[in-house]
Structure formats: structure tokens, C-alpha cells
Amino acid sequence: MPSAWLSTHLRAARPRVIAALNRAFGDIDLAEDAFQEASLRALRAWRPEALPGDPVAWLIVAGRNAGIDAIRRKSRETLSPPDEIEPAFDGPHPEELLSETLDQAVYRDDILRLLFTCCHPVLRRDQQIALALKVVAGLSVDEIARAFLVQPKTMEQRITRAKKRLRAARLSYEEPDGPGRAQRLSAVANAVYLVFNEGYSASQGPELIRETLCEEAIRLARLLVRLFPEEPELRGLLALCLIQHSRRRARLTGCGRAVTLEDQDRTLWERIPIAEGTILLEAALRAGRPGPLQIEAAIAATHARAATYEATDWHEIDRLYHALEHIRPSPVVALNRAVVQAKLDGIPAALARLDHLSTPLARYAGYHTVRGSFLAELGRAREAQEAYETGLELAGTEVERAFIRGKLGEIGA
């Protein structure tokens, strides 16, 4: 095996190992350092032709030893009596770990704990995303900074602050009961979707799609589905990510202009992820516990099923948006529904519905763009131009601005 594959083994093992170490030490920083040290030991000890039978268990034991060493060293430096510094383990002793790591139930709890901590509501969204990518996915600070188009130093600070905030919040992690567990998983699913969405429609900068973020989100979603196949929202999450991601080649022109669903070349949609997403969704919906991600996935799947834009089942999509408004009402969902209703009830009716959204979405470029396109369709070019121009001012990405400029061009403004 090429030695580079050792690093792939480390990358593959990382979420589970960090999760176990985080439980052992109750500290993300210490868990990360211990994983780092365990990885160095692995690179020295492992031979391509003789990998340990269970690399994950090997790394957990090595990481635990490294972590304990680090705590002892620190306690000597501060001259405190070691027994006061000894961490309060709530996990089993290292020698029990090897057999214990075979137990999927322990993995599940550890991963949930780690992800829930990284995506904790006390953190800002951008902090949640950064922390999940750094700690769980194992992206370097430089890689994350590049994905977010910020300086590595800025990203380093964002991550340090996030960890500080977690520590300051003094979160005590209690093992959740059944409903509590589903709630946490749903919080984690939302955070992973944030990662995906930041990649899928970057909120700032010159690019629309940042594939690294999408791919890491899909990898996290796959891990979650593997560990919690009985949780339909996680299957919904993976289905949604796969179907959206399948369209990426069609969403931009060669020169980087955004292409709307209507104008996309559907032969560029990748059929394998669409097939996988569709069956994941079907499996999820059998549970009879629909959630927002399952409904969004169903909307994406309905679009994916249509051979042409004209063949789209708008009635089905309208029903799905209606359900989404019920479960998770938001002005953006209402805006999306208005676009669908324009197809069903005509533009004047849809335009009237937009009035209710003018206040909550006043600063949302998408609102003004949709309104502009409705007005343009109705031949009210002057008002359309005004709406587009407002959208242009509010747009966060160059791709979005180019799109709106194109729209302005269409009405001859």
C-alpha cells in the first residue's frame, strides 16, 4: 500500500477516534491534540503490509495514552498534586477499550456527543460550521479559511473563540433520552446542512459553489446515516445533499454564470446520486416522521424526476412547500412557494402574496429578484428595474450580481 494511504486511514478513523477521546477527556482541544499525537505514533508504528486489525481501536488507545501523558506533564509543570488534576473519566479504562470499540452503540453516543458539542446552539452558525469542519472532518485551518475566503489567521481566531465560548458555557453533557436524542440529531443534521449549503450557494465571494464544503458535508451525512439509519431526518439530509449536489455541473455556465433550474441542461445532472437520494428519501418517508430536511429533499427529488422544466409537477411541489411552511415557517419558504404558485395561479396572484414578505425579506436579494421577474413578466419594466437594482445592491456574491445584471439586460435597462 502506498504510504499516502496511511493518511487516508487516519482521515477515515478521525471522527470516531476524536469522538471517543472527547468523551474520555471531556475537552475538544485535548482530544484533538491526543489524536494528533496518536496519528504520529501510527505513522511510525504502522506498516502498509501490517496494519492493526482495528485501526480505530488502536488510535483510541494510543490517543488516550497520549492525552493522559499530556495531562501528567501539565500537572508537573504547574506543580499541582497529580491526583487533583487527574481527569474525571466517565468512560472505561483503556484496557477495556479494544473490545468496547466494537460496540456500535458506543460509537453512536460518542459521535452524537461530539457533533452536538461542535454544533451547539451557544455557537454562532459560522462557528458551528468551522468547528465541525475542523474537529470532525479534520480539515486544516488553511483549508477551511480557503473555503470561506478569509485569511487563515481570521479562521484560526474564529475557531479559538468558538472553543472558548464552549468552555465558558460549561456545558454538561447528559446522555439524552429517546426524544432528546432525536432533537439533538436534528440539530446536528441542520448544522451539517449549513455546511453543505455554504458550499452549495456560497453567501459571499466570487464563486457560487465550493465543492470541498459540499463533499465534506456529504461525508458527514453518510457517517451519520450509517450510525443512525433509523433517524429519517438524517436520511433526508443525505438525500437532499446528494440530489442538490448532482446538479452542480449544470448550475454554472463555463464562464461562471448561474443557471436557473429552468435553463439547466438536465443531461448534466448526475443520475447515480439522484437515484441514491431518491431511494434514501423513500426509505426515510416510510418512518412516517417527516421533517424539514425530508420535505426539502422531496422537493429536490420532484425536480430531479422531471425530464424537462415544463414537465415539473408543480402541484406536488406546492403541496410540499405547504407542508414545509407548516413544519418550519419562514419568509424564504413563503417566497419559494410564491414562485411555485406563479406557475399554478398566475403571476398577479403570486405577486400579491409577495406583499406580505416585503418587510421580513427587505434585505434579502432573492426577494427583490423574484419580485423583479414577476413585474417584468407583467410588462411593468420600470418597477422591475427598481426591484432588480435593489437586489443588485443586496447581493452577496459576484455570481448573484452577474445574474441580476443579466436580468436587467433582458428588460433593456
Binding site: A12, R222, R226, P229, E276
Partner: protein, 130 residues
């Protein structure tokens, strides 16, 4: 003799592959395809979707029970299979050596009975081999 070539690997590992490593894997599968198609032993190839898509059906006294997820939680997962129509076991083993074996393992199991059919609902995934 018809042999099944059953491929086991870890999904965690496959998900962690770099694009280059992934290309290397595909190259080895390509070599297996070329070899078995050239000597006309190739019969079928199937790559399974992720275990996340799996459902398991069991029976509890008189009730069917449909559970989410694969039958067993293991460190390695069943990823896919080939069918090859070889003169003997040695030929099958030689062909399998072309496949990626740096990670995971491959089991060769002779087929006792095989029946194929035309597909009606699988147009999205079926590749016409002819």
C-alpha cells in the same frame, strides 16, 4: 463454473479516499473488466449503494418487521460483486488479483444457481454491456 466475486471494504475508508486514490481504485476495477471481457469470462458487475440506503426485513412470530439499515453492523461492509464465468477456481483467483486489495477483502463463492431477467424499473442504473 460461475463464480461470484464479493467485495468487502469499509465505507468510512472509501469516503475518506482522495480523488487520486479513488482513481487508482477505479483503474484496478478497469483492469479487471478488461481482463475478464477480453477472455470472455465477464458475466455481470454490480456496485451496491451505501448501507445507508439499506432496509432489513425480518419476521417476528407472524408479523413482518422492516428495520432501517443493514442486517449487521460490521466494520466492513459488502460493497458489490462481480459474476465471472471461469473454467476453474485458479482462473477466478488470478482475475481477482487484479482488483484493489490494499484495503478490505474479496471473497470468491461459486454460484449454484443463476437466473437473469430483463429489467423494467432499473433503467437509471443499468449499463448495457453489449
Amino acid at each position: 463454473m460461475l463464480f461470484s466475486v464479493l467485495i468487502y471494504s469499509s465505507e468510512d475508508f472509501i469516503d475518506a479516499l482522495t480523488p487520486e486514490e479513488h482513481a487508482l481504485l477505479l483503474k484496478k476495477h478497469g483492469a479487471f473488466h478488461d481482463h475478464t471481457k477480453t477472455n470472455r469470462t465477464f458475466a455481470a458487475a454490480a456496485k451496491l449503494m451505501s448501507t445507508g440506503t439499506a432496509m432489513t426485513v425480518t419476521k417476528d412470530s407472524d408479523d413482518f418487521v422492516v428495520t432501517d439499515g443493514p442486517f449487521a453492523e460490521t466494520k466492513e461492509q459488502f460493497m458489490g460483486f462481480y459474476l465471472i464465468d471461469c473454467a476453474n477456481l485458479d482462473d477466478a483467483i488470478e482475475a481477482v488479483k487484479l482488483l484493489p486489495l490494499d484495503h478490505g477483502r474479496i471473497e470468491i463463492r461459486p454460484i449454484e444457481f443463476f437466473e437473469g431477467a430483463e429489467f423494467k424499473n432499473a433503467e437509471r442504473v443499468v449499463i448495457d454491456a453489449s
